[in-house]
């Protein structure tokens, strides 16, 4: 097994790793704000829960990229392909957008989520709008996800 395979694996792992870290931080921050609102008004639980979960999707996208890469590498079936360094690097860079945009966008989305939780606490009738602000940030995670998927699918095997 050569460096190429290791690089490809590092790429796949980093997509799940960084996006997962970002989402963990994001959902954690959202949870703190949400818990604060629920102490005052337990009836808002379902609304703030949705807002808390919004930065959680990056972790799922990271998992998605990792899974696509791992299955293409043959790691899932237990017989990883031996790749050249060039191909390995291709996988690595293909996974990079999801890894980094996932990390940063989840953390930034958490800020919008926390603010929206504050909005719902004061004006529960504005829930529909409050959901949109964090969802705007997520667009960039989705674009990164798309680029990563297309790039991995485009690597000649």
């Amino acid at each position: 097994m050569g460096i190429g395979t290791a690089l490809a694996l590092a790429g796949a792992a980093s997509a799940a790793l960084f996006a997962g870290v970002g989402s963990a931080i994001g959902v954690g921050r959202g949870g703190q704000a949400a818990a604060g609102v629920v102490t005052e008004d337990p009836n808002k639980f379902s609304q703030v829960l949705i807002l808390q979960l919004l930065p959680g999707t990056q972790g799922i996208y990271g998992l998605l990229i990792a899974f696509i890469a791992l299955s293409r590498l043959g790691v899932m079936s237990g017989s990883p392909a031996d790749l050249s360094v060039g191909t390995g690097l291709m996988y690595f860079f293909a996974c990079a957008p999801m890894a980094f945009v996932g990390l940063v966008s989840a953390m930034q989305q958490a800020k919008a989520s926390v603010a929206s939780i504050g909005l719902v606490a004061k004006r529960p009738d504005q829930f529909g709008k409050s959901m949109i602000f964090p969802a705007m940030v997520e667009t960039y995670a989705i674009l990164a996800l798309l680029v990563s998927i297309l790039a991995i699918n485009g690597i000649p095997s």
Binding site: I50, L53, L54, G56, T57, I60, Y61, L63, L64, F67, I68, M76, Q126, F127, G128, K129, M131, I132, A135, M136, E138, T139, I142, L143, L145, L146, I149, L150, N153
Partner: protein, 681 residues
């Protein structure tokens, strides 16, 4: 698909009929009372009555009842099922209502009793730590067999007290002989620690003053006076705590006893809320000595029935007029059963503003479909539809808002089933995995369109196509709206030119190698003449926007500059279309994660299934556990994502093209109860 036309209703009636007329209107739930004060003619005859004091009493009673319910619930929690939130308000017949109203004094007394008991409970709970502090303060004195206020015998004086540091009998004796050399003292230290030392000092009565003085210099402090020996006192305190505990238990028991009367208290809460609402309206009425004047908004369709009802039963004059041009008319929507469930989505954005059309129907069509594409699994959709349909069937009494959401998710489930068939996803690739694992057969349900995992390019182009249709639908609605309002120039320059430009560019792009190669295997190159037509369209559109984009400026230089800036907005369309790639991305997320869980189940149980019967059984169970947890999680998270992003695509991309909102929701004067619904005859 429409905004209900509104009329203004004005009623002049006799004051003696006031209550009855108001109740008729409240029950009809069709009129929003206008609270703005009267101006112009009649201003000096009519005045408003101040009802704030009685309205406050009713609100306070309702709040007390609500609080009493909470107290009972802490003492005796009510068993509620998971589905109880769907139940809605219970029905109450008019007879029950009247008989309950006659008992309102008695029920309110119970409410007051509950609140009083709660106060006692809090008091008892607060007493315990207080007594515990006293017991702690007693600890330095426990070995003493004299009461703390003991002063001495006939010949001797006794000083009981403490020093605020650690002392010994010698150190005190030495200090005392320095400060009061003539006195002869017997010093007993009975307790010592770093913070406090307690001592008993005995001397002859004649020396008492000198010793007292000396002790004062040594910061000797007296304990709180008490005629009881400390150990006895401690016992007393402990009994007090036991008393408090007993009392708490007793009060809790009494509160739990009120659990039977929960429904009465709920009723009284609703009753006083209704009365408070009514008084608020009475406060808004213009009244003279004998008459009153009421004005409000009513949907045109409901107006004749109510007019007939009021004028036939009472000596009142009802007038239905068209609202004035500048009046702040509230907005109510009316849609068929297919579209009405997404009214909640529209409401959470904003109601249609003046002259705007009701976007519910087009939103519904796209919403169900896009939600479906993002969840995109036949089995998940089926579960959603069946679950919501069952809930809707079982809980007929559900509140309107809840019912609306349930119906919406029911339709979204149908959309999800549809796209599950389109992309061949049934719990991901579960049919294939199960057939292979348990029956050793190769079995695939082929997708109706394509498999998104191996053909993501095709689905991406499909998503963009949906997006383009969505955006054009928005532009067409914008055009329709402008034409309907007679703004033909706006319709052409704000909608038609953009459709020509964007549509033309897309057609032209599809004839170039650059664009076609970007989506390998997913896009067929169009013949060159189509490209020419597209280019012509685009140029006409661009020229039109350049000339008309800044048409509000008189100066032609300024106008063209503004037009050029408007033309730059074409980049916005690019990002709008790209935004629809989330349809692919979220759909892929669902199917890939289901595949992950399916293959996890497969890996865990693969070897077991092929060993022996017991192994096979364990294998099946393990597979099922992973399957249930995995798909449960996946469905929940992706349904949330689909919901949020289906909303986003409507609010940002679709509404951005034609819809501003800003209308005020129609809030009729109605019976706003929480627990009971009074059944009309």
């Amino acid at each position: 698909m429409s905004v209900l036309p509104m009329k203004r209703i004005s009623v002049i009636g006799l004051r003696k009929d006031r209550k009855a007329i108001l109740e008729t209107i409240q029950r009809s739930e069709a009129v929003e009372i206008d609270m703005t004060p009267l101006s112009g003619a009649g201003e000096d005859i009519f005045t408003k009555i101040d009802v704030s004091s009685s309205s406050q009493i009713f609100t306070k009673n309702a709040d007390s009842a609500e609080k009493a319910l909470e107290i009972i619930n802490t003492a005796a929690p009510e068993k509620t099922s998971l589905l109880s939130s769907f139940e809605g308000r219970r029905e109450m017949s008019v007879e029950d209502f009247t008989s309950n109203v006659s008992r309102r004094e008695a029920i309110m007394k119970d409410v007051q009793d509950i609140l009083r008991l709660e106060k006692e409970l809090i008091q008892a709970k607060a007493d315990i730590p207080k007594i515990q502090t006293q017991i702690e303060a007693l600890s330095p004195w426990l070995t003493l067999d004299l009461p703390l206020s003991y002063k001495g015998t006939k010949k001797t004086a006794v000083f009981i007290g403490s020093f605020s540091d650690a002392v010994t009998e010698e150190s005190i004796t030495v200090r005392l002989s320095e400060l009061a050399p003539e006195a002869d003292c017997d010093v007993n230290v009975i307790y010592t620690s770093n913070e406090i030392s307690s001592a008993v000092i005995v001397c002859m009565k004649k020396d008492a003053d000198a010793v007292d003085n000396a002790l004062r210099h040594m910061n000797f402090s007296r304990p709180p006076a008490s005629d009881i020996v400390p150990s006895k006192l401690q016992e007393q305190y402990e009994n007090d705590i036991k008393d408090c505990d007993r009392k708490i238990e007793e009060i809790n028991g009494m509160l739990a006893g009120y659990a039977e009367e929960r429904d009465d208290i709920r009723f009284i809460r609703d009753y006083y809320t209704m009365r408070a609402d009514k008084y608020e309206v009475i406060g808004a009425l213009e009244q003279s000595d004998r008459t009153f004047l009421l004005s409000g908004f009513i949907p045109a369709a409901a107006a004749p029935a109510l007019e007939e009802k009021i004028s036939s039963r009472f000596d009142a004059c009802v007038e239905i007029t068209d609202p004035g041009e500048n009046e702040d008319v509230p907005v109510a929507l009316s849609n068929n059963g297919f579209a009405a469930p997404v009214e909640g989505v529209i409401e959470s954005y904003s109601m249609p503003g003046k002259g705007e059309l009701d976007p519910t129907m087009p939103v519904a069509v796209f919403y169900y479909f896009m939600f479906g594409m993002m969840l995109s699994d036949f089995a998940y959709g089926l579960l959603m539809t069946v679950a919501t349909a069952l809930i809707l069937k079982k809980f007929k009494n559900m509140e309107a808002g809840m019912k609306r959401s349930m119906k919406m998710f029911c339709y979204c489930g149908i959309g999800t089933m549809f796209s599950g068939i389109l992309f061949g996803s049934y719990f991901g690739d579960a049919p294939t995995v199960v057939a292979k694992l348990f029956f050793g057969k190769d079995f695939v349900i082929p997708p109706l369109y394509v498999d998104p995992i191996s053909n993501s390019m095709k689905v991406l182009v499909f998503s963009f196509a949906i997006g383009i249709i969505h955006l054009f639908a928005g532009l067409i609605l914008n055009m329709y709206q402008a034409i309907k309002q007679g703004r033909i120039v706006d319709a052409v320059s704000d909608s038609l030119f953009w459709m020509l430009l964007v549509g033309g560019l897309i057609l032209y792009g599809m004839t170039t190698d650059m664009v076609v190669n970007m989506f390998p295997g997913a896009l067929t190159k169009l013949p060159a003449p189509v490209g020419t037509i597209g280019a012509v369209f685009a140029v006409i559109g661009a020229a039109g926007i350049l000339v008309m984009g800044g048409r509000d400026s008189r100066n032609w230089g300024k106008r063209l500059a503004k037009g050029a800036y408007a033309l730059y907005g074409v980049t916005g369309y690019l990002s709008d279309i790209l935004s629809y790639s989330r349809l692919l991305a979220l759909g892929l997320a669902t199917s890939v994660i289901s595949t992950v869980f399916n293959s996890m189940g497969q890996m865990v149980s693969e070897n077991l299934v092929h060993s022996n019967i017991l192994g096979a059984l364990i294998g099946v169970i393990l597979f099922l556990v992973i399957f249930l947890i995995g798909h449960g999680l996946n469905m929940a998270i992706n349904a949330l994502g689909a919901y949020v992003h289906a909303n986003r695509l409507q609010f940002v991309e679709f509404f951005g093209k034609f819809y501003n909102g800003g209308g005020r929701k129609f809030e009729p004067f109605a019976v706003k109860t929480k627990y009971f619904k009074i059944k009309e005859d």
